[in-house]
């Protein structure tokens, strides 16, 4: 557990760019929501025994979703939390042959195909698509 907390020391997670871009799309994120997402990333990693060292990965996972027409102020926290969860679940099932960049793209594409209603069926579809990309 301590290693994940260590990561907080190394860098400050920032969603500043993402928040700004969201605002331009008319979606306002509160400071509390941002903190929720940052905390959620740590929780997911802890549960999966996973360590994230990239300070920009959270922003990278979230930013793609701004392209989706289905993203609204009401569903943004739920959608992004699911995206974070599925990102790390998939990441821990894959090796370095799949890049973080590819993984983010696949998650967004499949989620968008499902109108951002991300459930377990999406996970299988995402895994299949990632494997096809390899």
């Amino acid at each position: 557990m301590s290693e994940n907390k260590d990561m907080k020391v190394f860098y400050k997670h920032s969603l500043a760019n993402f928040t700004q871009q969201a605002l331009m799309k008319g979606i306002e994120l509160t400071e509390q929501q941002i903190q929720q997402l940052i905390e959620y990333q740590f929780q997911v990693c802890s549960k999966l025994d996973w360590i994230e060292l990239g300070h920009d990965r959270l922003e990278m996972i979230c930013t793609d979703f701004l392209q989706s027409p289905y993203l609204t102020s009401n569903n943004i926290t739920r959608v992004l939390k699911s995206a974070i969860l599925y990102y790390y679940q998939l990441r821990s099932n894959l090796d370095w042959h799949t890049s973080d960049y590819t993984l983010c793209n696949v998650i967004f594409e499949i989620a968008n195909e499902h109108f951002l209603l991300i459930d377990s069926s999406c996970f299988t579809a995402m895994l299949k698509k990632v494997r096809d990309c390899q």
Partner: protein, 429 residues
């Protein structure tokens, strides 16, 4: 001396500055591990990276204060030098392989060290220097290192320390290269067990035998039953034994390299305890030649009378089953010359002969050879079961032909055993 800089660096979890200093190096290694494709990794891999950093920085022996990355790099170079040393020792040992058919011994020379080095040479080899998964289970004089975390080392440090000790003990055994096969054979005969699966240090076996011989002022590693009886006279004279063993250890320097002598002398108390044990409670740590060969020779003098012989022959000819015949021969225990006479009278035919020879012991087979041609062995002439020997043997009868055929088909190991007994018999003649 270990500097253990890394411990102070990594374990000081409160040190915010240290973490910040380490982060670029950790990130660099994560990128190396993930081929720059991902910035995240499993907790076990993260620990592996931290341990690698710790291990490499520990191996930076330079006193100059530089940044962590340079220290890591210098440590890495040192560790690579260690790996090269391991490779050199292993190659040297593989060339000097001993005739010791033991699983653990073979495993060290053929698999375990190779597997460790192969892991270090792989793409992500950098992360495998700090730890070894191998058992290193061939015992040295002080036992199996991993059983007791004996050296409190890991990775290249452990493998190199183990291998350097292994090499020294190996060097000691190489001095007795010619005698090892026979000594092992005697060991197996005495204990009734094969050395193949035993966790047995050959160096310890030979050292105890050599010391025993030194006590008796013999220049060999072989003992007879009489020698062992003489050694048992030390029973109760612990002080005298210790004193005389000390003298023997001092004599080591006349025969072996100083490095080897130092290594062996370090284990004096351990060897003394083992030696004393074998003298006190007769646990048979001493290996001595089997006296069986001498007993069988006596059989030659106790031939059956002509009347008895004819009776036995008649009885044997009346038996149909080959197994019954063999059982009768074993029960009645004939002398070797009587047995040859029986065979001349064709008590067995064709295949039965092979079956009969197969039931004989090594010493009996060797005795047959000697009876067939008493001039086969000349004193101090070592014989082998080869083509020249076959030519020297009389093959007039059917059983003689079968006997030679049978010997030719024996395994190399059995042939060697027969030849050994044959040479012993020739000494007694």
């Amino acid at each position: 001396m270990k500097l253990n800089k890394a411990n102070s660096l990594i374990n000081s979890t409160n040190s915010h500055k240290t973490k910040e200093k380490l982060f670029p190096l950790i990130m660099k290694l994560v990128n190396q591990l993930n081929h720059s494709q991902s910035t995240s990794l499993s907790r076990s891999n993260y620990r592996m990276i931290l341990k690698t950093i710790e291990y490499m920085i520990d191996h930076d022996y330079s006193s100059t204060k530089t940044d962590i990355e340079s220290s890591f790099q210098r440590g890495y170079e040192q560790v690579q030098i260690q790996a090269q040393q391991i490779q050199n020792i292993l190659s040297h040992l593989q060339l000097q392989r001993l005739p010791y058919n033991n699983i653990q011994y073979r495993s060290i020379l053929n698999h375990q060290i190779d597997a460790f080095l192969a892991r270090c040479k792989k793409g992500d080899g950098l992360f495998h220097y700090y730890h070894t998964d191998e058992d290193l289970d061939y015992p040295l004089l002080d036992g199996i290192p991993l059983d007791h975390a004996m050296y409190h080392l890991d990775g290249t440090d452990l493998v190199l320390t183990y291998l350097q000790r292994f090499q020294l003990e190996h060097e000691f055994c190489v001095y007795f290269y010619q005698d090892i096969s026979l000594l092992i054979q005697q060991f197996e005969n005495q204990r009734g067990i094969s050395v193949e699966g035993l966790q047995l240090s050959l160096c310890e076996v030979i050292l105890i035998q050599w010391l025993a011989n030194q006590l008796l002022h013999h220049n060999s590693i072989f003992l007879t039953r009489k020698d062992v009886q003489v050694l048992h006279h030390y029973q109760g004279n612990d002080e005298q034994l210790k004193r005389e063993l000390r003298v023997c250890f001092n004599n080591l320097k006349h025969y072996f390299s100083s490095e080897l002598v130092n290594h062996l002398t370090q284990h004096f108390s351990l060897i003394y305890v083992r030696f004393n044990q074998s003298i006190q409670d007769e646990t048979d740590l001493f290996i001595c030649c089997d006296d069986q060969a001498e007993e069988k020779i006596i059989l030659q003098n106790t031939m059956a009378s002509e009347k008895d012989f004819l009776e036995h022959l008649q009885h044997l000819e009346g038996l149909d089953d080959v197994e019954l015949k063999i059982h009768y021969l074993q029960k009645t225990s004939f002398s070797i010359t009587d047995l040859v006479d029986m065979l001349q009278h064709q008590i067995f035919v064709e295949d039965e002969l092979f079956y009969f020879f197969d039931t004989l012991q090594t010493v009996e087979l060797a005795s047959f050879l000697l009876v067939l041609n008493p001039e086969l062995c000349v004193f101090h002439q070592i014989r082998k079961l080869d083509e020249t020997l076959w030519e020297e043997i009389d093959r007039q009868n059917e059983w003689q032909e079968s006997f030679i055929d049978y010997l030719k088909r024996c395994s190399a190991k059995k042939k060697e055993a027969i030849a050994t007994v044959l040479n012993q018999l020739s000494l007694l003649n």
